[in-house]
């Protein structure tokens, strides 16, 4: 039938183009420069759009600061001063004022909640999803926006989905095949080749542009690589430049298939859900892994959850109790081209991936940092904080002491008890009763 023939011809041409222009170069780690040209055009377009928006918006109605600057005047003095100050004073009816003001201040602005939603952009990047309060400016801008929608959904999306499909299939098939081989250096080399190629294909599937800095500090075998977490794509970004042993829970479905295939070729550390609760077991297995110097470095995200890439939250101490050398890595995405943050309460994995594939591109910087080890007399928590600060400084992120688990759970009562303790000390500690 003519229709079927035509469709067949189009499909085969399409696949040949994809193969020749994208897949083969990825296998050899070579770039044809197509994505660089695309990025240049994109940057010029966004600059033009920014200029037009700034010209068009009347001055009074624009919000000048971005979300990371505080919007209320804070009096950060300690509780004693805030409670009309003399030490050794009794309870006053007005004490409630202090707590109610602090409470309302937290409602207007708190440093944690804003980290679990996408960063606000200073100027619009022609994606509907980031259009918070940008007004209609001109016909030309809207026309460019429409063109952008067409390009993104009709040209880029099918291409990216094809690539992702090919990449994941190759990964599963490749690792299963390599897994059949007996353990040898050939097997390791092949497994690395398969992993790297498939990751590069997947990164192209997102139009990823990644800049690696300080490659001399790339994590070595027998070490632990630690990074800030923004989305599952972090894994992809790091594994494009090196092979890691991953740690995590065994999932079902597609993820599970990928996990089981990967572990045949290379010893990743997957835990059953029940095993994850047993911290000693987890620590023991990880210790065994890094003791073997031939095994790949472990990749861990100590925050435990995805944060929106404007700050680094509390690093859980578990990863820092294992011992060994820690190789910190800072990852910072450029939100102008696409928001990489996975808000797991808003989007499931599939809609998240679709959003990724319909953004302009994923642009990020990765900084490898000098290795760190636990010092004498430093406990795991202090060490974790030290590494966290180093990553925050390198990536230009703010540092927060709060636990990323606040995204899902309520804050622990122990923190409230601290406040109550401070207050009680003021009332009772003076012995005025």
């Amino acid at each position: 039938m003519e229709g079927a023939e035509l469709a067949g011809k189009i499909l085969s041409t399409w696949l040949t183009l994809v193969l020749g222009l994208i897949l083969l170069p990825s296998a050899f780690g070579v770039s044809l420069g197509i994505s660089e040209i695309y990025m240049k055009i994109l940057v010029k377009t966004l600059e033009w759009a920014t200029i037009r928006i700034e010209k068009g918006v009347p001055k009074e109605s624009g919000l000048k600061s971005s979300a990371s600057v505080g919007i209320i005047q804070r009096d950060e003095s300690p509780m004693e001063k805030g409670l009309s100050g003399l030490r050794g004073r009794d309870f006053e009816l007005s004490d409630a004022f202090y707590f109610s003001k602090k409470g309302l201040e937290a409602i207007v602005e708190d440093e944690v909640t804003q980290r679990f939603s996408s960063e606000e952009l200073v100027s619009w990047n022609l994606l509907t999803r980031t259009n918070m309060n940008f007004q209609y400016i001109s016909v030309r801008l809207t026309a460019v926006w429409v063109l952008g929608v067409l390009v993104r959904y009709c040209v880029l999306l099918p291409l990216r989905v094809t690539l992702a499909f090919i990449g994941i299939s190759l990964l599963v098939i490749g690792t299963t095949l390599v897994g059949q081989l007996p353990d040898s250096s050939l097997k390791n080399w092949l497994s690395e080749l398969v992993h790297l190629t498939c990751c590069r294909i997947c990164v192209r599937a997102l139009s990823g542009t990644i800049h690696y800095h300080n490659k001399q500090y790339r994590p070595q075998k027998g070490g632990i690589c630690v990074a800030n977490h923004t989305s599952p794509i972090d894994v992809l970004i790091l594994t494009t430049d090196g092979c890691y042993a991953m740690v995590g829970q065994v999932h079902g479905g597609l993820m599970g298939i990928i996990q089981r295939a990967m572990v045949k070729a290379c010893p990743h550390v997957w835990f059953e859900r029940s095993e994850m609760k047993d911290r000693h077991l987890v620590t023991k297995r990880l210790k065994e892994h890094i003791a073997d110097k031939k095994k790949l470095p472990i990749l861990i995200f100590p925050e435990g959850t995805c944060i929106n890439n404007t700050s680094v939250m509390m690093f859980k101490k578990g990863s820092f109790e294992i011992g060994g050398t820690i190789h910190p890595v800072a990852i910072k995405y450029n939100p102008q081209f696409g928001d990489a943050f996975w808000n797991s309460s808003k989007y499931n994995m599939v809609s998240y991936l679709l959003r990724m594939m319909t953004s302009w591109a994923i642009v990020c910087d990765v900084w490898y940092m000098p290795p760190m080890t636990r010092e004498e007399g430093e406990d795991a928590v202090q060490f974790a904080n030290r590494v966290k600060s180093a990553i925050a400084v390198q990536g230009g992120l703010t540092e927060l002491p709060w636990d990323g688990g606040l995204k899902r759970a309520k804050v622990k009562d122990t923190f409230k008890e601290e406040q109550q303790k401070n207050y009680s000390k003021m009332l009772v500690g003076n012995g005025s009763l």
Partner: protein, 193 residues
């Protein structure tokens, strides 16, 4: 859909003391939307309870209560702003031009005092009973203070404020005991320009 035209006049029916428009209001609107995680268009108690700094506040639950009067389960943006308006600094107003027949603006001294009074007066009967005072004190000190100590603090406080000897503190007695206090400074949140 193309870029929207954003309407800055968000609260055309705002009571006195609540801004109808302006960048302050815009900021509060963004904050409201950020807190409304599932984009419901209103806030529930859970949305406020998830603010870490509020959850560790000893009076956190009471403050949240003030957003949901009369057993409401939802607060919309006007309701949100109405509560926050109590904390506007007083000098922000054009108070010199206020029409005396209009009800008092929400950020007047009286209304700020009333806001805190209602944190104490759970059953809204217009008086803070000894029992209600004990409850609030217990919230603020947790388990750090014994029952006897707490009772003696309560008795002393009620005695000092109670003028008509009914064993409870009415709103008038409350305001009188605080007449020397600089309420405006303690109960104001200033939004930076």
């Amino acid at each position: 859909r193309g870029p929207r035209h954003f309407n800055l006049e968000l609260l055309p029916d705002a009571p006195p003391g609540v801004p109808k428009e302006g960048t302050d209001l815009l900021r509060l609107y963004h904050r409201f939307r950020a807190l409304d995680r599932n984009k419901k268009g209103y806030l529930s108690r859970v949305d406020l309870q998830q603010i870490g700094a509020l959850a560790v506040n000893p009076l956190g639950e009471r403050i949240i209560d003030s957003f949901f009067p009369d057993g409401n389960l939802r607060v919309d943006f006007p309701g949100f702003v109405r509560v926050l308006a109590h904390f506007r600094p007083v000098d922000d107003d054009d108070s010199g031009m206020r029409d005396p027949k209009q009800p008092e603006p929400l950020n007047s001294r009286m209304n700020k005092l009333r806001f805190v009074f209602q944190l104490y007066d759970l059953d809204r009967d217009g008086k803070i009973s000894r029992h209600e005072m004990l409850q609030v004190l217990r919230l603020m000190v947790g388990v750090q203070v014994t029952e006897e100590q707490l009772e003696s603090i309560t008795d002393r406080t009620v005695q000092e404020a109670d003028e008509d000897g009914d064993g409870a503190v009415s709103f008038l007695e409350f305001t009188k005991s605080l007449e020397k206090m600089d309420i405006e400074q303690k109960m104001s949140i200033r939004i930076l320009k």
